[in-house]
């Protein structure tokens, strides 16, 4: 009994084919069946509760207004994991039709000219602020529509604690330290400054939230920084202040005792209940208090991280995230996707935004207005806008944001690394990023 060579090859081929079949079956799915005028598009957002709830509400309202279009909700993790998923999906053309993502430097890293649909000719573009247009545009086109309101990175504080101790909102760093010392001495165990390194990203606010003060002192700083100007470095003033401040606050023992392991959610709870007095944070996190401690929402106020001089003190503003359309979307789906984006930026879309996520700062489109019953801290932020004391966060002015800042600021804020060393480490970290981006001059 001998097998002929042909027979053997045939057997092998059949074996391979049997193995390959299930694989082929896997990739065979996803055929679209849009007959009869109905179009289905997909919308991708981040998988946390706030984002999915908002997305569900938006889809529901949109489908009601456009019965011939259905929108399928897809979610994925946020953060750096999400960034990489975004890049992978966009570079392989498998991105959902419409997706929600950051604006500014993270948006630029997605290579929008190659991967996204130009939206500059849409009607709603005229309602946007120039600041926002800048953070969703490249040299050639505009790609994103805002979703949510702008917010500040500043010190959120408990007004009751301030009132009990007779404190005033500080406008200089020394006043801030004096307030904190007083809370420590007379506050009956209230933590003067909350830090929550259980979520490492929260440690960056001393540095990132100080950036409006840097711009107030040197308006060209961000440009020089992007161009690798040796003066515009974190080891030099004015930018060094952020690191120095964080070290000083640690050295003076102003943090809550469990700062190394506290999470952001626990910190918000402590702030809301008055177990902690001040928390340098993004004001968008007020959503957590609205959800978990609704009765305390209006006890929370906000003030800018103070600069050394009161004249330089300004509040740092983050632009909202945006909604984009993938370039792989074509034909009927593209029309439907554009309708969806326009809807999000209409007055109906605004109602959804107001109802599902209380704004923590002004909107960047005239299509939206802040509701009467918004949290008290929005008024505090608006006051800075009215007096012209605002500045954009660095990530909206420069494409460079070093990935290790959160670890460096944890080390500085835990007394492991001195501020000078931390700042120098961050300058090195930034250099790597700039080289990877292929920026000139690095």
């Amino acid at each position: 009994m001998k097998q002929s060579p042909t027979r053997r090859v045939l057997t092998a081929a059949a074996g391979l084919a049997v193995l390959a079949l299930p694989l082929a079956a896997c990739s065979g799915g996803g055929g679209n069946s849009d007959d009869g005028g109905a179009v289905e598009i997909s919308y991708l957002t981040q998988s946390d509760d706030n984002n999915t709830n908002q997305a569900k509400a938006l889809i529901e309202a949109f489908e009601k207004a456009n019965p011939d279009i259905t929108v399928k909700l897809e979610t994925q993790p946020g953060g750096t994991e999400g960034d990489n998923l975004m890049k992978t999906k966009l570079s392989t053309g498998s991105m959902e039709d419409v997706f929600h993502y950051n604006s500014g430097s993270l948006f630029q890293a997605l290579n929008p000219d190659q991967t996204m649909v130009d939206l500059s000719d849409e009607e709603w573009v005229s309602t946007l602020t120039d600041d926002f247009k800048a953070v969703v545009s490249t040299d050639t086109a505009l790609y994103g529509a805002p979703w949510g309101a702008s917010f500040a990175g500043a010190v959120m504080y408990n007004k009751k604690v301030y009132a009990d101790l007779g404190l005033e909102v500080p406008t200089t760093w020394d006043e801030f330290i004096a307030n904190s010392e007083k809370i420590k001495a007379e506050g009956n165990g209230v933590a003067p400054i909350i830090q929550s390194y259980g979520d490492t990203w929260t440690s960056q606010l001393f540095v990132l939230g100080d950036f409006a003060n840097v711009t107030a002192q040197e308006p060209e700083w961000a440009e020089q920084y992007t161009a690798n100007d040796p003066n515009a470095k974190y080891v030099n003033e004015p930018a060094f202040a952020g690191f120095a401040n964080q070290q000083e606050a640690f050295d003076k023992g102003l943090f809550n005792e469990d700062f190394p392991s506290m999470t952001n959610a626990q910190a918000m709870e402590a702030l809301a209940t008055g177990a902690g007095a001040q928390y340098p944070m993004l004001t968008a996190t007020i959503a957590t208090i609205i959800q978990n401690n609704p009765d305390n929402v209006d006890d929370i106020g906000v003030f800018a991280l103070p600069a050394a001089n009161a004249d330089d003190t300004a509040i740092t503003i983050w632009q909202p995230n945006a909604i984009y359309i993938s370039k792989a979307t074509e034909g009927d789906k593209l029309d439907a996707a554009k309708k969806f984006v326009a809807f999000a930026n209409s007055s109906e879309g605004c109602e959804v935004q107001n109802a599902t996520a209380a704004p923590a700062g002004p909107y960047v489109t005239t299509a939206c207005t802040i509701p009467e019953d918004s949290p008290a801290l929005v008024d505090d932020i608006q006051a800075y806008f009215d007096s012209g004391k605002t500045g954009s966060a660095l990530e909206f002015l420069s494409p460079i944001k070093g990935p290790n800042l959160e670890n460096i600021t944890v080390a500085v804020g835990s007394g492991i690394t001195p501020a000078e060393e931390g700042a120098a480490q961050y300058d090195d970290d930034v250099k790597k990023q700039a080289q990877q981006l292929g920026l000139p001059g690095w």
């Binding site: 092998a12 193995l19 990489n84 991967t115 469990d258 944890v410 080390a411 835990s414």
Partner: protein, 310 residues
């Protein structure tokens, strides 16, 4: 690859068996050669191609959107990484601490569990159980148990008026805490290997030694220890490789923190990947690959030479 059967081969079987085996050609395979094809295809697609392409990508600036060849710049950048020295030192500390503890504890437990004790089968199960649990699950569980302020361990210590260390928030302790959890999780495998080694020692040796009046320590020192050497070598090699490239447990418990104090090479690489520096992190992987080989080849040669001398 084929076993060289002449296609039209009408040669009588007798003449084949009478031939002396000639190297590979004479090797008789248990299976027909096509039987290997599926495995070979999987190996090539999922192992060989990624391995060799990673050597290429380590020489590029790679954003997933485009690839630009930049020579050895990534390797230079990787070695300029400010945390690299800490990460290297930590990697070696972690590798050697976990490996040594697994050898010592594994051998002790194996002696206990091969001896005549009550509930032996049950205890064997208990020791081996952690090996079966997901590493990430173990990491998160211990992170909760060891929480410096709200964790059960420190609450109990506080109740007994003992100091409550910041297990994974104290920069001096974080790495050792993770190493301890790693040992807890991995010692079952070491114990199992040592048990197999001890059980395989012929009883006559022990009987003869006792006849000569040897005590327990003397039996252990002169019979058990030398004769479980192959098992020891296996445990050292396996746990050292595991320790040097260890990542998941460290990530689950400390994410390399606080700051950079418990970073190892693998976590530095992962952070670079997270940051979108794909070329750079691939270069890091190539370096880790070389480092592990550079450590393991001499160690394994040394251990195996000792075995031959027996």
């Amino acid at each position: 690859m084929t076993t060289a059967v002449a296609p039209t081969g009408a040669a009588p079987p007798a003449s084949r068996t009478s031939k002396p085996p000639m190297g590979r050609k004479g090797m008789k395979s248990m299976y027909p050669s096509w039987f290997y094809i599926p495995a070979a295809v999987l190996f090539i697609i999922f192992f060989a191609v990624p391995t060799f392409s990673s050597f290429y990508f380590s020489l590029t600036r790679w954003t997933l959107f485009d690839v630009q060849f930049i020579g050895f710049d990534n390797f230079i950048a990787f070695f300029q990484e400010p945390q690299l020295v800490t990460a290297f030192i930590n990697t070696f500390i972690y590798g050697f601490v976990t490996s040594a503890s697994k050898v010592v504890l594994g051998l002790a437990l194996a002696l206990l569990l091969t001896g005549p004790i009550l509930g032996r089968g049950y205890l064997r199960g208990v020791i081996f159980f952690p090996v079966l649990v997901s590493t990430i699950g173990v990491g998160f569980t211990f992170k909760a148990l060891l929480d410096p302020f709200h964790g059960i361990v420190n609450n109990v210590l506080g109740f007994m008026n003992l100091p409550q260390p910041g297990w994974y928030t104290d920069p001096n302790l974080a790495l050792l805490t993770v190493a301890a959890v790693d040992v807890w999780k991995g010692v079952g495998i070491a114990t199992l290997i040592f048990m197999a080694g001890i059980v395989a020692i012929p009883h006559e040796y022990f009987e003869a030694a006792r006849m000569d009046g040897a005590g327990a320590w003397s039996v252990f020192r002169n019979i058990t220890l030398p004769l479980v050497r192959p098992a020891t070598a296996t445990v050292i090699i396996l746990s050292l490789i595991g320790g040097l490239r260890s990542f998941d447990l460290i990530w689950a418990i400390t994410k390399g923190g606080p700051g950079f104090t418990s970073d190892v090479i693998a976590s530095v690489i992962y952070k670079q990947y997270q940051a979108g520096f794909f070329g750079l992190s691939t270069a890091g992987n190539v370096i880790l690959f070389i480092v592990v080989i550079a450590v393991m080849v001499p160690v394994s040669l040394f251990l195996n030479r000792k075995q031959d001398e027996l």
